[in-house]
C-alpha cells in the first residue's frame, strides 16, 4: 500500500514537472516566434531584399511548411522540433557571424538582437531535447555539420533570411504543439486523480 502511494506521488511529480516543462517550452517558443518575426523585417530591410523573395532553392535549412504534420505522432513531432531547433540554432549562429563579419559590420544593435534570439533558440532546442528524454523517447540523430565555404554574399543574405523565416515558422508550430501536449498532460493527470478518488470511495 505504502509503495503504491509513493509510486503515485512520483507519477504526480513527473506529471507536474512535465507540465512545467511544456509551459516553459511553449513560452520560449512564443518568444522565439515573436522575436524572429521582428528580426525578419529588419533583416530584410538591412539586406535590401524584397518581400516576395523566393526561398525555395536554398538547401540546408529545415523547412517548417509541411502537409504531413497532422499525420505525425507527438513523439515524432517532438523529435522533428528538437532536430529543427538544433539545426536552426547552428544556422543562426552562422548568420550572426556573417552579419558581424561581412554584411552589417558595425550594426551592433542588430547583432545584439540576433544574439538574444540565438540564446533563446538554444534554450528552446535544449528544452525540446529534455522533453524527449523525459518522455523516454529517442533523441534525433545529430545532424552532420556541413561546411559551406565560398558562399557568395547574396547567397548568405538569402540563407540568413530563410533561417529566420523558418525559425519563426517552426516556433509558431512549436507553440501549438507544446500547448497541446500541456493540455493533454493536464487531462491525463486529472483523469488519474478522478480514478483514484473513485477507487478510494469504493
Amino acid at each position: 500500500m505504502a509503495t503504491g502511494v509513493r509510486h503515485d506521488a512520483i507519477e504526480d511529480n513527473i506529471s507536474f514537472a512535465l507540465s512545467d516543462c511544456y509551459a516553459k517550452a511553449e513560452a520560449l517558443a512564443r518568444k522565439v516566434h515573436s522575436e524572429a518575426k521582428q528580426i525578419t523585417e529588419s533583416y530584410r530591410e538591412k539586406q535590401g531584399l524584397s518581400q516576395d523573395l523566393n526561398l525555395d532553392s536554398i538547401d540546408g535549412v529545415p523547412e517548417s511548411g509541411t502537409s504531413k504534420w497532422a499525420e505525425l505522432t507527438e513523439e515524432e513531432r517532438l523529435r522533428e522540433n528538437a532536430a529543427a531547433f538544433a539545426a536552426l540554432h547552428r544556422l543562426l549562429g552562422t548568420v550572426l557571424k556573417e552579419q558581424q563579419d561581412d554584411l552589417t559590420p558595425g550594426d551592433y544593435k542588430f547583432h545584439d538582437a540576433l544574439l538574444s534570439l540565438l540564446a533563446k533558440v538554444e534554450a528552446l532546442a535544449e528544452t525540446t531535447k529534455q522533453l524527449l528524454l523525459s518522455l523516454g523517447h529517442v533523441l534525433p540523430r545529430a545532424e552532420e555539420e556541413r561546411e559551406e565555404e565560398g558562399l557568395r554574399y547574396f547567397q548568405k543574405k538569402r540563407r540568413g533570411y530563410k533561417v529566420i523565416v523558418e525559425l519563426s515558422g517552426w516556433a509558431l508550430r512549436a507553440v501549438r504543439d507544446f500547448a497541446r501536449l500541456k493540455r493533454r498532460n493536464r487531462r491525463e493527470v486529472g483523469g488519474k486523480r478522478e480514478v483514484k478518488k473513485r477507487g478510494s470511495r469504493r
Binding site: 538591412k46 539586406q47 523573395l53 554584411l103 559590420p105 554574399y153 543574405k157
Partner: protein, 985 residues
C-alpha cells in the same frame, strides 16, 4: 627590288595544258606553269610594261599591260598565332599575335583592325585599330580590352586583320583576310548564374550585370536593388542591365536579382564605394620613446570589413614598419576622427621619414611625413600637481612627470573664486622622470581661493602645449583689514539727549582681507577720559547710542581673525543745531542725481552726501556717500530710485572737528503727473461769475514739482430738438503754483462743470469735476416779458386810432356798397320745349368718381389709414381732394364734407358732351406726369396709384404695366364703378 604578285584570269577555258611567260623587261622573262599568277621582281619607280604570254600546244597569245605603282595593291600578311586570354574577374580580353612576314624588305606601317563579337549573335560589339610597324621579323603584338559586360555573360569572339597604311608605298591600302575567330565561351547552361559576382566598384562608374539562365529556365525579371532597368538580350539565355553612375551602397551592398521561370532566384551583390582618401599625416612624440603618427581618413570609403582600407606605415630610413593595429582594426575607435600608428624611437636616430600607404580594393594613396624627433615633442600634462598655500599672498606648486623632458616652458592658469582668470608663464629646466619641481607663485590676495592648473611645451622647439593638468585649489591666509570703515550717523534729538544711530558700510573683500567677525564701536566725550565701547555682530551694519548733549567722538573698527581695521571716527556736537537754507530744487535722471555745491569754508576731509532711499517710509533707509576733499560734485545713483518720489539730499562738509550741514536739495529722478485730484469748491458770485477755491495736494502725491493749475469749465448739456450739444470747453492756465483760487467771469446762465487739475513736468494730474447752475434774477425775467408786451400794445392802440380817424376811406376801399338786382317784366320770357337760353339746372352734386384706397402695400400703417378721395366734377382744373379717415378700411356711405358747386357756376361746354371730347385729350400719354406706386411718391398720389382721365370712367394704366398690376387696378375700378352707380341711385 620588290616582289610583286601578278594575277590574271585565264580567259577562255581550254583543256590543253597552258604555260605562261611573264616578261616585264625585254630581257627578263619568267615562265609560270599552270598558274594564273606569278612573282616578278622589279624596282617600282616608273611605269612597267608587262607581257603575259599564254602558250599551249595550239599556239600562244600575249597580253601586254602597263602597270604603275598606283595600280599595285599592297596586301599585308594575315596575323598569325592569334591567341585570346580572358581575365574574367577584370572582364579583360588579352590578345596576342604575330604580325606575319612582310613581303617587303623594309619596315612598313600597318594597322591591325581588331573586332570583338558576341558570338551567339555575331554582333560586333567593339572595333579597334592598332597601329604598328611591320617588318620582316615575326614580331609579336598584344592588345587588351576591358569589356563592359562580364565575359561569362555570353561567348565573346575576337578576330584581327592587317591593313596597309604605309604612305611610302603610295599604293592602294590593301587589307589581309581576318584571322580565325578566337572564342571565349560564356557560362555553360548547366545552371543559372549571375555576373559579375560580389564586385567592389567605385562610385560613379557604369556597370552591366547579366543573368544567364540554365537549361530549361527562362529569365523573368532582372532588377538592380528595387530598380527596374532596361534589359538587353545578350543571347537566348542571357540578359543584362546596365546601371549608370552607381551611387554608394550601404554596408550590406546592393543586390541585383534575377527571377527565373520555373521559380528560382539568383542574385549578386555589388559594393560601391570610394578609394582611400587618407591625408594630413602628422607625427610627434609624447615621451621621446615612441612616435605616434596621426592622419585623417578623409572621405569615407563606404567599404567595410574585407573591403575596408588597410594601412601600412613604413619608416624609410630604417626600413621598419610601424604598428598600425589601431588603424587596421575594423572596429577602430577614432580619436578626434583620426587614425594612428605607433613607431618606437630608434636609439641614435633623430630624423624619421614616414610613408603611409592606405589601400582598399578601389585604390591606394601614399602620404609622406618627415620628422625631427626633438622638434615634435608634445608633452604629457604633469602627472602630479600639488599646491601649498603658505602665506597670505604667495603659494607653492609642486609638479612632476612620469617621463623626462628637456627644458620646458609652462603656463599657470590661476582662477579666483570670482572666476577671474590669470595666465602666468614660467620655465622648467630639464625634468627627470618622477622628480618634483617646485614653482613659487606670488602676488596673490589674502583670504582668496585659487585654483591652479598648468600646461607645458618644449622650450627649444615649441610644438604643442600639453593638455591642462587637473586643477588644484588652495586658499591664501588672512590679513588684518586694511581700510577704515565708511561710517555715518543719524541723530535724533530728544528732551533727554540725543539718539545717535551709527551706521557703517561693510568692507569689500579686497579691504577686509579676511572674514570680518565683529565690529567694535567706542565713544567718549570730547576732551574727557573714559571710553565706552560696544561690540556689534558681523550681521549688522549699525548700532544706536543714547547719548547726552555733550560732544562725542565715536569710532568704529572691523575685526577679523588676524586683527582690526584702522579706526573710523565721527564727531557728534550735542548742542549744535544744523541749519541750512531752503532746499534747492534739483532735477534728476532716471538713474540718480547729478549734484554740485559750493565748497564749504571749513572743509578739510571732504564731503558727505546723505539721502533717504525710501523717503515715504518710517525707516527711510538712509544712504550716504563720501566725496573726496576739494570735490564739490558727485553723482549718486541707485537702483532703488523710483520716479515720482521726492528725494531730499543733504550735503555735509567734513572738517577736523565736526561734520556740518552745507546744503539741502530736493528733487525727483523723474517727475510724474500728480496722482491725487485737486479738490475744488465753487461759489457763484452772480449769474456770470464763479469763484473756485481748492486745497493743496499732499506733498507725497505731487510726484513732481507743481508748476501750476489748469481750470477747465464747460457749460453743461443744452437740450434742443432731439439733439444734445455740449458747450465749448474753456481753460484757464494758472502758472503760479501757489495760487489756490480763481474767479471765472463772463459766464452765461447755464449749468457749468468746473475741473481744476494740477500739473508738473511729468504731466497733468486728474481732476474732480464740480457742477454749478447759474440762474438769471427774477427781475430780469419780468423785464424780458413785459417790455415786448408793452411795445405790442402801444402799436395796437396807435393802429386803432389811425383806423378810426380814416374809417370812411377804409370802408370804401374794403367794403364798397353792393347794388340790389332788379328784373323787369319784358326782359323775363319763357319758351316752350327747349329753351334757347336754358337756365342752369341746379342738382345736387354727384361726384364722377370716388377713389377709396384701403391700403397701399409698402406704406406705413399710418399712411395707409389715410386715403385721398379725388373728385372730378368735370372741370379740368378743378379737382377736389378730400381726405377720408378710414379706421376699418372701406366706408362707402360716408359723405364727403364738401361744399356743393356754386349754383351760379357756368358749366364748361366741354363737359356737356364728354364722349365727343374724350379723344382729344390723353393725359396718360405723358407718363412722366404721373407715377406708379412707389415709396417716393407723395401720400396722395401713392393712395391713388394712378392718374385718371378727366372724361373717362376707366382707370388709366401706364404703358407696360404688368398683368398683375392690371388686374389689381381693374378690380379697383370695378369697385369704384359700383360706388359710382350706388351713388347715382
Amino acid at each position: 627590288m620588290l616582289t610583286f604578285i601578278c594575277s590574271w584570269s585565264a580567259g577562255s577555258e581550254t583543256n590543253l595544258k597552258t604555260t605562261y611567260k611573264i616578261c616585264y623587261k625585254p630581257t627578263h622573262c619568267e615562265s609560270v606553269e599552270r598558274n594564273v599568277s606569278g612573282k616578278i621582281n622589279l624596282a617600282l619607280f616608273g611605269a612597267v610594261q608587262i607581257h603575259i604570254t599564254a602558250i599551249n600546244t595550239l599556239g600562244s597569245a600575249t597580253a601586254t599591260f602597263q602597270v604603275t605603282k598606283k595600280d599595285i595593291t599592297f596586301i599585308p600578311p594575315v596575323p598569325q598565332n592569334v591567341k585570346v586570354v580572358p581575365d574574367f574577374s577584370s572582364q579583360t580580353l588579352s590578345l596576342k599575335w604575330i604580325g606575319g612576314v612582310s613581303a617587303l624588305a623594309f619596315p612598313t606601317t600597318i594597322e591591325f583592325e581588331i573586332q570583338v563579337l558576341w558570338t551567339e549573335k555575331m554582333e560586333v560589339i567593339h572595333t579597334e585599330s592598332y597601329a604598328a610597324q611591320l617588318d620582316s621579323q615575326n614580331k609579336t603584338f598584344q592588345w587588351s580590352w576591358i569589356s563592359g559586360v562580364p565575359l561569362n555573360c555570353t561567348s565573346h569572339s575576337v578576330r584581327i586583320r592587317s591593313i596597309s597604311t604605309d604612305i611610302l608605298m603610295n599604293s592602294k591600302n590593301g587589307s589581309s583576310d581576318w584571322s580565325k575567330l578566337q572564342t571565349i565561351p560564356g557560362a555553360d547552361d548547366s545552371k543559372s548564374v549571375m555576373f559579375p559576382e560580389d564586385k567592389v566598384v567605385r562610385v560613379g562608374t557604369n556597370m552591366t550585370f547579366c543573368c544567364v539562365a540554365g537549361r530549361g529556365q527562362r529569365i523573368k525579371t532582372l532588377v538592380y536593388g528595387a530598380e527596374h532597368l532596361p534589359c538587353s538580350e545578350l543571347g537566348i539565355r542571357s540578359k543584362a542591365i546596365t546601371k549608370y553612375n552607381l551611387p554608394p551602397s550601404d554596408s550590406a551592398g546592393t543586390n541585383i536579382m534575377c527571377n527565373l521561370d520555373p521559380p528560382h532566384l539568383l542574385g549578386t551583390v555589388v559594393f560601391v564605394g570610394y578609394p582611400p582618401d587618407d591625408q594630413q599625416l602628422e607625427c610627434e612624440t609624447r615621451d621621446l620613446q615612441n612616435i605616434v603618427c596621426y592622419w585623417s581618413p578623409g572621405r569615407q570609403t563606404m567599404l567595410l570589413r574585407e573591403h575596408r582600407t588597410f594601412y601600412t606605415l613604413t619608416e624609410r630610413i630604417s626600413g621598419k614598419n610601424a604598428s598600425c593595429h589601431q588603424a587596421n582594426d575594423d572596429d577602430a575607435d577614432l580619436n578626434d576622427d583620426k587614425y594612428k600608428c605607433n613607431f618606437p624611437v630608434i636609439s641614435g636616430q633623430q630624423m624619421y621619414k614616414f610613408l603611409l600607404k592606405a589601400k582598399n580594393p578601389l585604390g591606394e594613396v601614399k602620404t609622406n611625413y618627415t620628422l625631427n624627433l626633438y622638434t615634435r615633442v608634445y608633452p604629457y600634462s604633469p602627472s602630479k600637481v600639488t599646491v601649498l598655500c603658505t602665506g597670505s599672498r604667495q603659494t607653492k606648486l609642486f609638479l612632476s612627470w612620469g617621463v623626462s623632458y628637456k627644458n620646458m616652458t609652462c603656463q599657470f592658469e590661476i582662477v579666483t573664486n570670482n572666476k577671474e582668470k590669470q595666465l602666468r608663464n614660467f620655465t622648467l629646466p630639464d625634468q627627470e622622470a618622477n622628480a618634483l619641481s617646485r614653482v613659487a607663485v606670488d602676488q596673490l590676495y589674502p583670504d582668496t581661493s585659487y585654483s591652479f592648473r598648468t600646461r607645458c611645451a618644449s622650450a627649444e622647439h615649441f610644438w604643442k602645449w600639453s593638455s591642462w593638468s587637473e586643477s588644484k585649489t588652495c586658499k591664501t591666509q588672512e590679513e588684518a583689514p586694511s581700510k577704515a570703515l565708511d561710517v555715518w550717523r543719524e541723530i535724533k534729538r530728544t528732551e533727554h539727549g540725543q539718539n545717535v544711530l551709527v551706521k557703517w558700510k561693510p568692507l569689500p573683500h579686497s579691504d577686509a582681507k579676511g572674514t570680518i567677525v565683529k565690529y567694535e564701536i567706542t565713544w567718549n566725550v570730547v576732551n574727557e577720559v573714559g571710553e565706552q565701547s560696544a561690540i556689534a555682530p558681523v550681521s549688522v551694519n549699525s548700532t544706536e547710542l543714547h547719548l547726552n548733549f555733550s560732544d562725542y567722538v565715536i569710532a568704529v573698527r572691523a575685526v577679523n581673525s588676524v586683527g582690526s581695521s584702522p579706526s573710523s571716527q565721527i564727531r557728534i556736537l550735542g548742542l549744535f543745531e544744523e541749519q541750512a537754507d531752503e532746499p534747492s530744487i534739483i532735477s534728476g535722471m532716471p538713474s540718480g542725481f547729478n549734484l554740485s555745491w559750493s565748497p564749504g569754508t571749513n572743509e578739510t576731509c571732504g564731503y558727505i552726501v546723505e539721502w533717504c532711499l525710501f523717503p515715504d517710509t518710517l525707516d527711510c533707509n538712509m544712504q550716504w556717500e563720501r566725496v573726496p576733499p576739494k570735490t564739490t560734485h558727485t553723482v549718486i545713483t541707485s537702483d532703488g530710485f523710483r520716479p515720482g518720489v521726492r528725494y531730499s539730499i543733504s550735503v555735509y562738509g567734513c572738517s577736523q572737528h565736526k561734520e556740518y550741514l552745507l546744503k539741502k536739495m530736493v528733487g525727483y529722478t523723474q517727475e510724474l503727473a500728480p496722482r491725487r485730484a485737486v479738490k475744488v469748491k465753487a461759489e457763484a458770485n452772480s449769474s456770470h461769475t464763479v469763484t473756485l477755491r481748492w486745497e493743496d495736494i499732499p506733498v507725497q502725491d505731487h510726484q513732481g514739482f507743481i508748476r501750476g493749475y489748469r481750470v477747465y469749465y464747460v457749460p453743461q448739456v443744452n437740450f434742443s430738438a432731439r439733439s444734445q450739444k455740449s458747450g465749448i470747453k474753456e481753460v484757464i492756465n494758472i502758472t503760479d503754483p501757489d495760487v489756490r483760487n480763481v474767479t471765472v467771469t463772463n459766464l452765461h446762465s447755464a449749468t457749468y462743470e468746473f475741473t481744476v487739475k494740477a500739473y508738473t513736468a511729468g504731466g497733468e494730474g486728474i481732476g474732480e469735476p464740480i457742477n454749478i447752475n447759474l440762474v438769471d434774477s427774477p427781475l430780469g425775467l419780468f423785464l424780458a416779458i413785459l417790455i415786448p408786451l408793452g411795445v405790442t400794445c402801444f402799436c395796437g392802440i396807435l393802429l386803432g386810432i389811425f383806423c378810426y380817424t380814416k374809417r370812411n376811406c377804409v370802408k370804401e376801399t374794403f367794403y364798397p356798397d353792393v347794388p340790389n338786382p332788379e328784373i323787369h317784366g319784358e326782359q323775363w320770357s319763357v319758351v316752350e320745349g327747349r329753351s334757347s337760353n336754358p337756365t342752369f339746372d341746379v342738382k345736387p352734386f354727384i361726384p364722377d368718381k370716388v377713389w377709396i384706397i384701403e391700403s397701399v402695400p409698402g406704406k406705413d400703417v399710418d399712411d395707409s389709414d389715410i386715403c385721398t378721395m379725388e373728385m372730378n366734377n368735370g372741370d379740368n382744373g378743378s379737382v377736389n381732394n378730400l381726405e377720408v379717415i378710414s379706421d376699418s378700411g372701406y366706408k362707402p356711405q360716408m359723405r364727403p364734407h364738401v361744399p356743393l358747386l356754386d349754383v351760379n357756376h357756368t358749366p364748361n361746354p366741354q363737359h356737356l358732351d364728354l364722349t365727343e371730347q374724350s379723344e382729344g385729350y390723353q393725359p396718360q400719354l405723358k407718363v412722366s406726369n404721373w407715377s406708379v406706386e412707389s415709396p417716393e411718391v407723395d401720400e396722395a398720389s401713392a393712395c391713388i396709384g394712378s392718374p385718371t382721365s378727366v372724361n373717362s370712367t376707366q382707370f388709366l394704366l401706364p404703358y407696360q404695366a404688368s398683368e398683375e398690376g392690371q388686374s389689381t387696378r381693374s378690380s379697383s375700378w370695378k369697385f369704384s364703378s359700383l360706388m359710382s352707380s350706388a351713388q347715382k341711385r
